[in-house]
């Protein structure tokens, strides 16, 4: 059957979506080799330091750059956020064991639901690896509570009010800043980032990649 399917190599795409430790500088990247996000077959990237609505921050450097603020090998900035039950949860609570911190766009959207359910379905494997799973989005605790209840999610969902932690960690936005990015961090027992995985439109891959890394920790 005739179809219009462009081979992947003809589109600016990444083979790897792992973020290097020292990415190169670009100005106004539409496509970046050291990028962050993969829109399956296409790559669009925006730096958190570019003046885009979803990622603007007065404390960001003015120079255009695509540095993630948190890179592999670094200890990310601490946070204290409310979970789906309204209780405050700090990142320090998870020190001593590996933790998977995944930033997702919003509750009750197709990709985020697939991702949450995929984490749920593999939760035993994460427990076996001694890891905790924490999801973070800008939704409020009541939204998280309903989302967790509806899909029987066994892990913690945190409310990043104003997307502050997302900005602090440098989670890049997608599609020229129009979408909050989908990025997962794996922290080891010492709280050091060992993996950063970004993929907006293949959410289930976050589970595979993080489990793969956890086997080696």
């Amino acid at each position: 059957m005739a179809s219009l399917f462009l081979p992947k190599h003809s589109l600016p795409s990444l083979l790897s979506t792992q973020i290097p430790k020292t990415p190169s500088l670009h100005s106004l990247p539409l496509v970046s080799k050291s990028s962050h996000s993969q829109f399956y077959g296409l790559t669009f990237s925006s730096s958190p330091s570019l003046p885009l609505p979803s990622s603007s921050s007065s404390s960001s450097p003015k120079k255009a750059s695509i540095f993630a603020k948190v890179s592999k090998g670094q200890v990310p900035p601490p946070f204290t956020l409310k979970d789906q039950d309204g209780k405050t949860v700090s990142l320090s609570k998870f020190k001593g064991k590996p933790v998977v911190v995944y930033f997702y766009p919003a509750d009750e959207t197709p990709g985020c639901t697939k991702q949450a359910c995929a984490f749920r379905d593999s939760y035993e494997k994460f427990k076996k690896a001694g890891a905790e799973v924490v999801g973070i989005s800008g939704d409020d605790p009541s939204s998280h509570k309903a989302f967790a209840k509806k899909y029987r999610l066994p892990f913690t969902l945190l409310s990043d009010d104003g997307n502050k932690v997302r900005k602090d960690w440098g989670v890049p936005a997608d599609l020229f800043g129009t979408l909050p990015g989908r990025q997962t961090y794996v922290l080891d027992k010492k709280g050091v980032v060992q993996l950063i995985y970004n993929n907006q439109f293949q959410p289930e891959k976050h589970i595979d990649e993080t489990l793969k890394l956890l086997q080696t920790l």
Binding site: M1, A106, L179
Partner: protein, 307 residues
């Protein structure tokens, strides 16, 4: 004036003479069969006893909007035929301008390529419009409300498009083509421009026919149509059938379907939906469980029998 790609102008509650409603009162209410048997389990201390309950008679539901093959709203009228004639005329004028201009300029490759681009883009346009109408707005939306209602009717009773007479099916698109192509016919003489215009507008105007064929059965379709579907030049029955499954979020293109694989595999519409959600706060229909009004009703023999 309705804009492009009315998918299925099904009769609505707003139809001026409500013929459909009168029509349904003349005939027995169609039975929506859902015979079920239920068992009541009585639990005793050590024993589970299942007591079968007799089958309850199937509920009779009156659905005034449910179509019948004798529904006058499926028939062509003279205004329908007039619009189809005018649409075809404007397309033919464009075709003739392309042909004569090409002969005069001794070119053929560029107009042919332009036509090919028109054919390909018509498919993309059909998909984008279809996606928008399927996911946003409702019957009260200005300009598009009747289209959205018609699309809902088509999702609920997809088979009726095969009962719709030719001009009835195409007239809304023909009207749009008339108003769009006529100015182009008057303003442009370039054969390359008209190569694009006549093919693109022709494909758009006839997309409802391609759509109807995509709902047909192989044994009832002309062999040429089946061959074109199998070759991927017209949207195939199987490809379009994939759209008619909840949550109705794929295979939106209905001219050739050539864009469907690319758009679906690259999650293009999902990306657009996410952008609209985060920028405008609107949720597409396909993100939620389809409500009763959109879920397909299975065609029963009583709906196909001529009284």
């Amino acid at each position: 004036m309705s804009t492009s790609f009315p998918h299925h102008k099904y009769y609505s509650l707003r139809s001026p003479n409500n013929v459909g409603r009168r029509h349904h009162r003349r005939f027995p209410a169609l039975v929506h069969c859902s015979a079920t048997s239920t068992a009541k389990a009585k639990h005793k201390a050590d024993q589970l006893v299942i007591v079968p309950r007799p089958l309850t008679p199937p509920p009779i539901t009156k659905t005034p909007d449910r179509p019948s093959i004798k529904d006058p709203d499926l028939l062509s009228t003279w205004p329908h035929r007039a619009w189809v004639a005018s649409g075809c005329t404007t397309v033919l004028i464009s075709l003739l301008k392309c042909a004569t201009g090409s002969a005069h300029s001794h070119i053929w490759l560029e107009p042919v390529l332009a036509g090919l681009i028109g054919y390909v883009l018509a498919d993309l346009g059909s998909g984008v419009y279809h996606w928008g109408i399927d996911n946003y707005g409702d019957a009260s939306t200005p300009v598009f409300g009747s289209q959205i209602e018609a699309f809902q009717g088509h999702h609920k009773w997809p088979w009726t498009i095969t009962r719709r007479q030719f001009a009835n099916n195409l007239h809304a698109l023909a009207r749009v083509v008339t108003f769009t192509v006529l100015p182009l016919d008057l303003v442009f003489n370039d054969p390359v421009v008209h190569g694009f215009v006549w093919v693109c507008s022709g494909c758009i105007m006839f997309s409802q026919q391609f759509h109807a064929w995509a709902h047909g059965t192989k044994s009832r379709l002309p062999p040429l149509v089946v061959a074109l579907q199998d070759a991927g030049l017209l949207v195939s029955r199987s490809q379009h059938a994939a759209h008619h499954h909840a949550p109705y979020n794929n295979n939106y293109c209905i001219v050739s379907g050539v864009w469907n694989e690319f758009l679906d595999e690259n999650k293009v519409f999902e990306a657009l939906e996410m952008i609209l959600f985060f920028q405008l706060g609107v949720r597409p229909r396909s993100w939620s469980e389809p409500n009763f009004g959109w879920i397909e009703e299975i065609e029963t023999p009583s709906q196909t029998t001529v009284y």
